[in-house]
């Protein structure tokens, strides 16, 4: 299998990498770029632990080919905190104990950020349906919904 050379942008940084034609974006992020924040929970797009955005669109990176990243803008959990500190969602997840084991947290944070960019004032039901593609087995989602709403309120008042 011949390799493919890919030029892309990840969390604002230019990145060049080489991948195989059947390689997933998730594997390229984790194994070639060392960005292990996105997790593989299933490899079939059912759990959302590998959520990233590709040109602003929320995707399961296990279902995207690495070669599709050519010329794209990718955002992962590693890009959420800035030099000024944590993103309001990240802070809210800690303050509201919205994580237990934390392995679904990167994907949920990326998905929640994408939600709030589209809908800064979601209802609880809208939060729950938006996050229905992100499995969390520890929390029962209660504190996750509360954390997303707290961050949304903070971001609206900022």
């Amino acid at each position: 299998m011949s390799s493919i050379s890919v030029s892309t942008t990840v969390n604002g940084d230019p990145v060049d990498f080489v991948c195989t034609p059947d390689e997933s974006l998730l594997d390229a992020l984790r194994n070639r770029m060392g960005l292990t924040g996105a997790k593989e929970g299933c490899g079939t797009g059912d759990c959302g632990a590998c959520s990233v955005t590709l040109n602003g669109r929320l995707v399961c990176s296990c279902l995207v080919l690495a070669a599709e990243a050519e010329g794209a803008e990718i955002a992962t959990v590693e890009g959420m905190a800035g030099p000024e500190g944590l993103h309001p969602l990240q802070r809210a997840f800690i303050d509201h104990a919205a994580l237990q084991c934390g392995v679904c947290t990167p994907g949920i944070l990326v998905a929640a950020k994408a939600l709030l960019e589209r809908n800064p004032d979601p209802s609880d039901e809208e939060v729950r349906y938006w996050l229905a593609g992100n499995l969390c087995r520890c929390t029962g989602y209660d504190k996750i919904v509360r954390a997303v709403q707290a961050a949304a309120a903070e971001m609206r008042s900022a």
Partner: protein, 746 residues
């Protein structure tokens, strides 16, 4: 260690909700889980698994795979030692099949290669010749005479002669005269129930990285609930000494009991030894479902007699559990837990475990209890319906309390069941009116809780900060609660304490993170280690002041002269004593090693409002409340989190989750699309009401809280659905087709 009842303690930090110390790592993607660790020169291994439910392995030809470019090593069952201990031998055979594949997904060979793609291709080049054997996956079928035999000669002495060869365990608990008890009843209900096997469903698949040097030293990094357990088992399977195998627990992406054993770790170690290179194995989700976990599948008969005013006169249960293809004692837990919530004059439970061609059972939150209590609580609910009694009043009337001889033998000390029942009854949820078509389900839950082997070191740093070294992976915020207890005991701020989870070379043995034991047992050891350190710091202050050690006491984070006769000295804070420790005798540390008992049993009560769509049979949970005794909630956020998360796992068990087997004995739904765990849009908020009835066996009164919350949802939901559709449901999960069928048959 007894409860500090002599002190009217006002906690300053325990009971507050500070941010967890590992929070930032976990929200930024920095935390390293099992699959996130790599090593230079690392190989990737993949495992070949049986496509048959039951088959004799006639031959395995690995020559073609071994000859492939990039393949560095291939192993089969022959490469693993078979320990003499039966339990360890079962783990070894589960890790890699020998003469027989015992279930769909059972490992038969593994390949280490320079890339995942080559390892995967090499699996296809391994030729396994199978002789397919008859299989059995249903527990009742496995107990029939003439059922396909999974393993021979594994029955314990307690199993009566004449039972199926597959029956490995038999147990019996209870007391009193059953016949007399049933004779006193105004009404007797007898029902049979079945529950499907479910998977723990942790989002992180098993992953590990092993490295073995030519002089026999090994390092293993893995996601596990217990690095010391991994060391014990792997050392036995590898023929290694414990000191030569260092196991480091990564961050763990959920476990719920499912990571209290090993699957891939010995395979990675054997391949690392064979190839001389570090070897990484990460399971796929398909492998996780087919070869790890699940719970027992069960078939249970329950008979209960009740007077018309709601007094239970006798209770009897027969429990048939299957823990898969290996002997499994989980049925004992079910037989002990079934009637634990009740104060009964006459009670008997009998349990049997039968082998089936399913994966080896692994613990899942309160293993064995949810199924048994579901069956009992369903019959109690039906009696309440028949006799037109309030289901909470009946439970209050019969509740076990301090002094009750439990259904499994021991006499209960202080327990919180009545308090949780009364809190549920007084809660607005129980009084809220239901709309037409809606119903409310109620259930009690119980778990034993566990203490176990625990070892903690507490180091006082010269700048006045403290490091706590403990040996239990932090599965849901335990670093925070351990830090809180250390800070409370020492009288220093929470953020001056850093708690780390040590590898197996850095601390004495610790039992796995299970049995709801960590906040209780590690907490107890942390408090004792802090008291040890305080004693030493008092001695240092005494030395500085030139007075007797006994004349110094610790309060409010400082050493003080104890009373006017000790002399007039200004108090020395922890930081002041630590700063001069090199001049007063050297570094200061506290330690505690214990095999802790006194864990204190745990009870909870759940209320669930729901409605059932009569056209589809789909159940919607409308409102859900959890009431549970935490003894003392050290970090209430994470206590609530256990109650909410456990409840939702129980909701999944009640409504959707099940291992589905085809006629070929293969699992038909080994993925999250078809094995449906609850998603956010399935659920309402889960209200968690914490009660605090101090556990007499812990200095702060702490009880474990992790397991009990998965117990009540099964019956609470089934009772609600049964009331909503007017048919007593007797099988889980209550998937829409099953409920629809019941509605149509009524």
């Amino acid at each position: 260690m007894a409860f500090d009842s002599h002190e009217k303690r006002v906690f300053k930090q325990v009971g507050t909700r500070p941010p967890r110390p590992d929070g930032v790592d976990k929200v930024t993607g920095r935390a390293q889980y099992g699959a996130d660790v790599t090593a230079p020169g690392m190989l990737t291994a993949r495992i070949l698994r049986s496509p048959h439910a039951h088959a004799r392995i006639v031959s395995i030809d690995t020559s073609e795979a071994e000859a492939m470019a990039g393949v560095k090593g291939v192993v089969t069952g022959r490469d693993f030692a078979l320990p003499e201990d039966a339990g360890l031998a079962d783990i070894a055979v589960n890790v890699m099949a020998r003469d027989k594949a015992l279930y769909d997904g059972h490992a038969v060979a593994a390949v280490a290669a320079v890339s995942p793609a080559i390892a995967k291709a090499a699996l296809k080049a391994i030729k396994v010749q199978y002789e397919v054997l008859p299989h059995v996956t249903d527990v009742d079928a496995a107990m029939q005479p003439g059922a396909p035999v999974v393993l021979e000669g594994r029955a314990l002495e307690s199993v009566p002669a004449g039972m199926s060869v597959n029956v490995t365990h038999a147990s019996e608990f209870g007391h009193g005269d059953l016949a007399a008890g049933f004779a006193k009843a105004d009404r007797i209900v007898e029902r049979s129930f079945k529950t499907a096997a479910t998977h723990q469903g942790y989002i992180e698949p098993h992953a590990c990285l092993a490295s073995v040097t030519v002089d026999g030293k090994a390092d293993l990094w893995c996601c596990t609930q217990g690095q010391f357990m991994v060391r014990t088992v792997c050392a036995a399977l590898m023929g290694m000494e414990a000191s030569q195998l260092r196991v480091t627990a990564s961050e763990i992406g959920g476990g719920f009991g499912g990571k209290t054993t090993v699957f891939i770790e010995p395979v990675a170690l054997v391949l690392a030894r064979k190839t001389g290179r570090p070897v990484k194995i990460t399971m796929t989700r398909d492998e996780v479902f087919r070869a790890t976990g699940p719970t027992v599948s069960t078939s249970i008969d329950v008979k209960i007699g009740m007077t018309k005013d709601g007094r239970i006169t006798a209770g009897e249960a027969r429990l048939r559990y299957s823990g898969g293809a290996f002997p499994c004692g989980t049925v004992d837990m079910g037989a002990m837990a079934a009637f634990a919530a009740y104060d009964l004059e006459a009670v008997r439970t009998q349990g049997w475990n039968a082998l089936t061609n399913r994966p080896k059972e692994a613990a899942y939150r309160a293993p064995g209890a949810p199924q048994a209590i579901y069956a009992v609580e369903s019959v109690v609910d039906e009696l309440c319906q028949i006799l037109k009694l309030d289901p909470l009043d009946v439970r209050i009337r019969n509740a076990a309390k301090k002094g009750t001889k439990s259904s499994y033998g021991p006499v209960f000390d202080d327990i919180g069941l009545l308090a949780t029942l009364e809190a549920a009854k007084a809660h607005p949820h129980y009084k809220a009116p239901l709309k037409p078509g809606q119903a409310r389900g109620v259930s009690c839950g119980f778990w034993f809780n566990f203490g176990g082997n625990t070892c903690v070191s507490l180091n006082v740093n010269t700048d006045g900060t403290v490091g706590v070294t403990e040996g239990n992976p932090d599965i849901g915020g335990s670093r925070a609660s351990i830090s809180l207890m250390a800070a409370e005991e020492l009288g220093i701020p929470y953020d001056k304490v850093r708690t780390i989870v040590a590898d197996t070379a850095s601390l004495g043995y610790n039992d796995v993170t299970d049995g709801s034991r960590v906040t209780f047992s590690v907490g107890l050891a942390t408090i004792a280690a802090a008291r040890d350190a305080k004693t030493k710091m008092c001695a240092r202050a005494a030395k500085i002041w030139g007075i007797d050690e006994e004349a110094v006491e610790w309060k409010d984070g400082a050493a003080w002269p104890a009373g006017p006769n000790a002399g007039q000295f200004p108090p020395m804070s922890l930081a002041e004593i630590a700063a001069v420790s090199f001049q007063t005798g050297g570094p200061i540390a506290g330690h505690h090693e214990v095999n802790a008992d006194g864990a204190g049993v745990s009870f909870g009560v759940h209320l669930c409002d729901l409605e059932v769509d009569p056209e589809t049979g789909k159940t919607t949970i409308l409102r859900y409340s959890v009431f549970q005794d935490a003894g003392k909630a050290v970090h209430p956020d994470y206590v609530e989190g256990q109650m909410q998360g456990g409840a939702v796992q129980g909701i999944g068990w009640a409504l959707n989750e099940e291992y589905i087997y085809g006629r070929d004995g293969r699992m038909q739904n080994p993925g999250f699309l078809d094995y449906r765990v609850p998603v956010a849009s399935d659920l309402p908020m889960i209200e968690a009401v914490i009660l605090e009835i101090p556990n007499p066996g812990h200095p702060y009164g702490v009880r474990g809280v992790g397991e009990t919350p998965i117990v009540p949802p099964l019956a609470a939901i089934s009772n609600g659905v049964s009331r909503a559709v007017g048919v007593r449901m007797q099988e889980l999960p209550l998937s829409p087709p099953r409920v629809l069928k019941a509605i149509k048959a009524a």
